[in-house]
Every structure is written in C-alpha cells, then in structure tokens.
C-alpha cells in the first residue's frame, strides 16, 4: 500500500521545470520602471491639486452633499451608504481585548498563533486558542493542539486537549472526547458543553460526562455522505435557559446552514434563520453561518453569514454580519449590520455583542470595529485582535 505522498510523486513524475528567471527579472524591472514613472506623475499632479484646492477642505458624499474633511470612509453599510465614524455617544463597555491575553500565564507551554498565523513561540510543541472565556467569573476554556500532528493521512486524527483555567491556575485538562468539537462554558458554573454530530454533551471540568442531548430526531437525516445535519457550534443564552445552535446540512444541491434556538434540554427547537444560497445556477451553492452571539438581554442573536459557490473550486460571494430579534413564535428577518467590503473569504470574521447591548464588536480584515446595533454605524475602531474577542467588564 502506498501513501498519498507516493501517489503525488507518481502524478508529478513527468512534470518539467517551469519558469524562466531571466524573463521574471525583466518583467520585474519593467513593472518597477512603470511604477516609478506613475508615482512621479502622480506626485506632480498632487502638488498642483494641493495648491489649487488647499482652501476647500470639504469633501462631498455620493449625493454631492458637503461632508467634513477627514479620512476616507471604508466598507459599506447595510443600506449601501459608506460607513463613517460617529462620536462615541453610547455607553462604554470596558475594553475589547484578546481573551487569550487575560490568561497568558496559564497557557504555557503552548503557543498562541499570531495575526499572520505563525507560532508566537517558535518551536512550541502545541498551539492553544480560547473557545470561551468569562472574565467576570475568571474562567476560560481553551483547546490545545500538538504543533506537529504527523503527515500520514491514514492515521487517526490527533486528539485535541481541552484546558479549563482561571487566570492563576489550570483547573481542568482532559483529551477532547470528540474530534472537531465546539466547546462552550456552561450552562452550570462548573460545566462545559460540547457540540458534536447530532448531539450536545455536557461534561464537568474533569471531562466526565454529566448529560447528553440527542437532536437526531430534530435534525435532517443524511442525504449526501455518511452524516446528516451536523451541529457545528453552540452558544448559551446569558441566563443559561436556552441554546443557540448552528447546524450544517450537505444536500445534492449544495450546503445550507441553520440557526436554531432550543430550551436548555433541547426541547422546543426553533429554526430562527436558514442560510440558503440560491444565486449560482451552474455551480454548487454553499451557505455558511458561524459566530452566533446573544444580546445581553437574550432577546436577539448576531451571526456571520457567508454565501459561496463551488465549481471545482470555491469562491466567496458575500459575507455579512447580521442580527435578528427573537419572539415567542420565531424571529424577525435578519438585519444586515455590515457587508464585508468585497467578496473575499474571511474565515476569521467574528461578532460579539457588547455587555450593554448597544453595540457589537466585529472582526474585519486588519481591524476590529464597534458597530451600533441600531443602524450599523461604526462607533469605534481597534487594531486587529488575533484570537478570541472578549469585552472586559468596566
């Protein structure tokens, strides 16, 4: 039996050596000359513009209305207008920080991952990331993973280790009982919830199972492949009486995702949003949901939604951050808070509701925004936070 490496070797056995370095040098030189020429021209034009327009420090919006001079707006709001930075007239929520930084002393010897996805501690044998933290209760749940998991595709997937810690000490550490599990603190003070397959399992900080909720009668059966609709993530409501679940279903037509709300025992499941991509005709449509977040009053949910399509390769079509309001019989139609500026796949998108409920934190490429939940206004901007977003209580 040969390995995947040998199979690859056989495929490339007759591949010639591509590329022409001399031509590349010539191309690079040409590009450099063009760029310098353009920069020189632009600099001259800009100098003239500064002289002529220096006294008219007013810009205009798309309708021609005068706007205060300042940095150019970036991105677009739900209504298609450009986002602007408004004065921070809403109550403050403490600081937005990387959750992992609060617990740094108890994460050793594992390494965090930097913003450009490298090891923060070169040579570390394991990486670590936060699944869930509660700064007020001084408890965090982390997943550590070996840095080198071996490259044999036939070997079983390596097992991650879940670590529970206060800021001073590790209080629980055990191998994850499931592969690719989403883990969440709660609902009880010393409990962890694990979403896997079509089940929700609650374990203690020692990893011992306490109870399990079987959702197989609620979720859709398998249509394609061995598994049916799978639960990808779980998020407890602030009062611990309800769960928000994100599920994914592969069908012959493509992939759709659903956002559910259930009671704490899994009863009364309600689908509050279904993400189905109907755009592509000739390609396989995909719809993703992730990062569910509860408002502090438990009356609303936020999430990230991406539509993409597969045609041998995958292309992202759109990504948005949205919220919906829950009611007794269901939920409102989701309201878009933010459309990502272009159809770029951005797996690191994350949304988190603020403690006072008036705003959300949203990770976008290269920064973190604070948006008003009322209208998506950008209230504040922060440098990129590479890790789990969390609000420190004031």
């Amino acid at each position: 039996m040969s390995g995947l490496r040998e199979a690859f070797d056989e495929i490339v056995a007759d591949v010639p050596v591509y590329g022409d370095l001399d031509r590349a040098i010539e191309q690079a030189d040409q590009e450099r000359r063009r760029r310098y020429g353009a920069i020189a021209g632009l600099a001259a034009a800009a100098a003239v513009m500064v002289v002529v327009l220096g006294t008219f420090a007013v810009t205009r919006d798309k309708d021609g209305a005068p706007q205060p001079a300042g940095p150019s707006p970036t991105g677009t709001r739900a209504d298609g207008t450009s986002e602007t930075t408004a004065p921070a007239d809403l109550p403050a929520n403490g600081r937005l920080v990387r959750a992992e930084d609060l617990f740094a002393p108890v994460l050793e010897p594992c390494s965090l991952i930097t913003a450009d996805f490298r090891l923060a501690i070169p040579g570390a044998e394991c990486t670590i990331r936060a699944h869930d933290v509660d700064p007020a209760a001084n408890i965090g749940l982390f997943e550590e993973f070996p840095t080198d998991t071996g490259n044999d595709p036939s070997s079983p997937p390596p097992v991650a280790t879940l670590r529970v810690a206060t800021r001073d000490e590790v209080v629980g550490r055990f191998p994850s009982p499931y592969a690719d599990v989403d883990a969440e603190l709660g609902p009880g003070p010393n409990e962890i919830t694990l979403a896997h397959g079509q089940e929700i399992t609650v374990v203690g900080f020692d990893g011992e199972e306490r109870r399990s909720i079987d959702l197989s009668t609620v979720l859709a059966p398998a249509e394609v492949g061995p598994t049916g609709e799978e639960i990808l993530s779980v998020e407890w409501s602030p009062d611990g009486t309800r769960m928000a679940l994100v599920s994914r279903l592969l069908t012959e037509e493509g992939m759709s995702s659903r956002l559910w709300v259930t009671n704490s025992d899994g009863s009364e499941p309600q689908v509050v949003h279904t993400a189905t991509n109907t755009e592509p005709v000739l390609r396989t449509p995909l719809a993703y949901l992730w990062s569910p977040t509860w408002s502090p009053d438990g009356g609303s949910l936020g999430f990230i939604e991406e539509f993409a399509s597969l045609g041998g390769t995958e292309e992202s079509q759109s990504i948005r951050a949205a919220t919906l309001t829950l009611s007794g019989s269901g939920a409102s139609v989701p309201r878009t808070l933010y459309d990502y500026p272009s159809a770029t796949a951005y797996d690191e998108a994350e949304i988190l509701w603020s403690p006072d409920g008036t705003r959300v934190a949203l990770r976008v490429p290269n920064q973190v925004l604070e948006l008003s939940v009322e209208d998506g206004r950008v209230l504040d901007r922060h440098p990129l936070i590479a890790g789990k977003l969390t609000w420190l209580p004031r």
């Binding site: 995947l4 495929i11 450009d116 997937p157 390609r283 992202s316 797996d347």
Partner: protein, 168 residues
Amino acid sequence: MDREVELREFVSARGAALSRAAFLLTGDHQSAEDLVQETYVVLVRRWQKTGTVDPEAYVRRILYSRFVDSWRRRRISELPSASPPDRPCGDETSMTADRLTLQGALTRLTARQRAVLVLRFYEDLTEVQAAAALGISPNTVKSQTRVALQRLRELVPDAVASFEGVES
C-alpha cells in the same frame, strides 16, 4: 554573495520542486507554468528590494497564496464543473489508473483544500507551517484537511483505500 547569483542558485536548486507543487495545485501544465512564472516575478521584486531572509518559506507562501487567490478571481465560466466524474471510479484496477483518477479528483476540491493536501502530504509541512504558507489558521488547515480527505474518499474510494490501507 551577489544577490542575483544567490537568486539563481536558489531557483536552480528549488525550481523543479516548485514546478511539481504547482502542477499538483493547478492540475495542468499551462496553469502550472503561469503560476511558477508569476511566483518568480514576485520573488525577484522582493529580492531586488530587500533580499530574502528565508527564500524557501517566502516562495512557498507566494506560490500557494497566488494559487488560491487566482482561483477566487477567475470567472465562473472558466471553472470546471462541480459534478463528480462521469465514469465510476471503482472500475479502475491498475495503480496508474488509480493515480489518474486521484489526479482528476483533486481538481474537484476547492483551491484551499487542494493546497492544504499538497502542503501537508507532498511538502510534508506541519499544520502550523501549512497555515503560515496559506495565511489561514491552523484550525482551518485541520478542518480543510479533514474535509478534503473525506471528499476524496467519496470521489475515488478505491484510490483512497489503496493509500489508507482501508477498504471503503
């Protein structure tokens, strides 16, 4: 050492390996040649500007990033069909036929999935190294690897069973 001499030595030593990786990524000779050439242009630009401290890692990052980005930029009409192969894969008996089928199945994966498989199982990189090369998180590498292998199992069960040692 003169920068250009250094550059030529690097390309001479690594050109063949880069070409093979490019072919695994793109699946056809013309696209692989374009990808390698584009990578060289970016490399030269960087080399002229600063000199490269770690050419191996830098070139790998250029090659794989440009591959994933280029797929995202392409028009829908230029993309291959998402439907599975017309002919049943289980009929293939020889190892060569299995390899050809596996090669076809690779084109049914997303760009990122294919890049992850090539980095992990052809370039023998760790998940963290593959993540750095692609500019994605190690967890995404982990999940994409799992999904990619599952997709290969569905498309070419016999070929996958042959290198996994498992009957599908």
